[in-house]
């Protein structure tokens, strides 16, 4: 039990970020018009591509002899980049279409 409390104290600023971000996420979306639901979903999809930073760290820390970590890390960076780049480009194309309609 004590370790759990220690853990909370040690990571308290991260826990604050989580709590505040939850409310921020809810507020920021607020009253989005339903036409924008899909582009917004797509944009959010691109943003959670930040996982790629974790993948880069995994890849960069891997020892040159540790092939499992190297291969998995390499794959993770590719997948993460697909998420980020693909996500932003698709969102842009969607919004382009949206503009023409108007």
């Amino acid at each position: 039990m004590e370790t759990a409390f220690d853990w909370i104290t040690l990571h308290q600023d991260m826990i604050y970020i989580v709590v505040l971000s939850v409310f921020l996420g809810i507020e920021v979306i607020g009253r989005v018009p339903s036409v924008l639901h899909t582009p917004l979903m797509s944009g959010a999809n691109a943003i959670h591509g930040v996982v790629i930073i974790g993948a880069i760290i995994v890849m960069g820390k891997a020892d040159s002899g540790n092939y499992t970590a190297l291969i998995l890390g390499f794959l993770a960076v590719i997948l993460g980049t697909l998420n980020v780049v693909g996500g932003f480009v698709v969102t842009d194309r969607m919004l382009e279409m949206f503009k023409k309609k108007k």
């Binding site: 409310f23 996420g25 917004l40 974790g54 998420n83």
Partner: protein
């Protein structure tokens, strides 16, 4: 000095994500918002590659990182440019699955790393294990679910359900939680193969979770899985004490959940109806 610059890069990233999301929810500024978030992402990625260090050691394997980045950029741009306008949602689902898989892979590598150190006598602490497991389970479910959603939208996967499927689903989920709890509490390196059992079960759970849901409800499901991946990314942020992954992930997690609910409201149906409505008959109005 360099670490200070990295901190500023991450700060820029976090702010652009918030501002980008805000702009994306207004018709006039939506397109600019997307670009703002993309620019922030670029800054955060470049900062990580060149400035990140752990215990004074910089990242290595630059060549491989750049090769992987180029492959991903090339494939991602091509796929996103070529896709037909009508097939956009399935593309989003595919990319979402990639993000989930990325989070799961990070957890797998970090778990191996921990177990390796555990074998050398350093015991793994429960908090880190909990984060790794959460990232693995949520990321994998999101990946498997998104692949099914993608298949359903392009017509290659049909609806599939059997009697009592949600009981089976609950059972699988229960087993996943029990096994994870056992591994986290015991911290036993000898039982580390159970990690892969959890991985496989999470894939099965993800498949069973989406398979029975009707194709017309896929956008809602994709939005839900999207917020799952956000949470998985946030666990990565916890793992590396990385504020930009944390804010980006949680922001998408909460905004995505609200968006899911809004999408259900637009269809005049509660979320629970979408998720379990197709069980037992499937005569829900849609």
């Amino acid at each position: 000095m360099e670490l200070n610059i990295l901190t500023i890069c991450y700060l820029i990233g976090s702010i652009t994500f918030i501002a980008g999301l805000k702009m994306l929810s207004h018709p006039e500024s939506a397109r600019k918002g997307n670009l703002v978030a993309a620019a922030g992402m670029f800054v955060a990625i470049i900062g990580t590659i060149f400035l990140y260090e752990e215990e004074g050691v910089k990242l290595g394997n630059y060549i491989w990182i750049f090769v992987a980045l180029s492959i991903g950029t090339l494939l991602g741009t091509m796929a996103a440019k070529k896709v037909k306008m009508t097939a956009m949602p399935e593309m989003v689902s595919l990319f979402n699955g990639m993000g989930g898989a990325c989070a799961a892979l990070i957890s797998i590598v970090e778990f191996n790393h921990l177990m390796h150190r555990g074998a050398e006598g350093q015991s793994a602490d429960g908090g880190t294990l909990l984060i790794i497991f959460a990232g693995l389970i949520i990321g994998t479910i999101s990946f498997a679910g998104s692949m099914v959603a993608w298949g359903k939208l392009n017509g290659s996967i049909k609806d599939f359900s059997f009697k009592g499927q949600h009981i089976v689903n609950l059972l699988i989920f229960g087993v996943i939680i029990t096994l994870s709890a056992y591994l986290i509490i015991s911290g036993d390196p000898a039982a580390s193969s159970l990690f892969y059992v959890i991985f496989v079960l999470s894939i099965v759970y993800g498949l069973f979770f989406v398979l029975p849901i009707g194709g017309a409800d896929m956008p809602v499901v994709i939005s839900l899985l999207n917020s799952f991946t956000g949470v998985a990314a946030a666990f990565g942020g916890f793992l590396y004490d990385n504020p930009v992954m944390l804010t980006g992930g949680i922001l998408v997690g909460s905004a995505g959940t609200i968006l899911t609910i809004l999408m259900c409201k637009a269809m005049n149906r509660p979320l629970s109806n979408v998720l379990i409505g197709s069980f037992g008959g499937g005569v829900s109005g849609g």
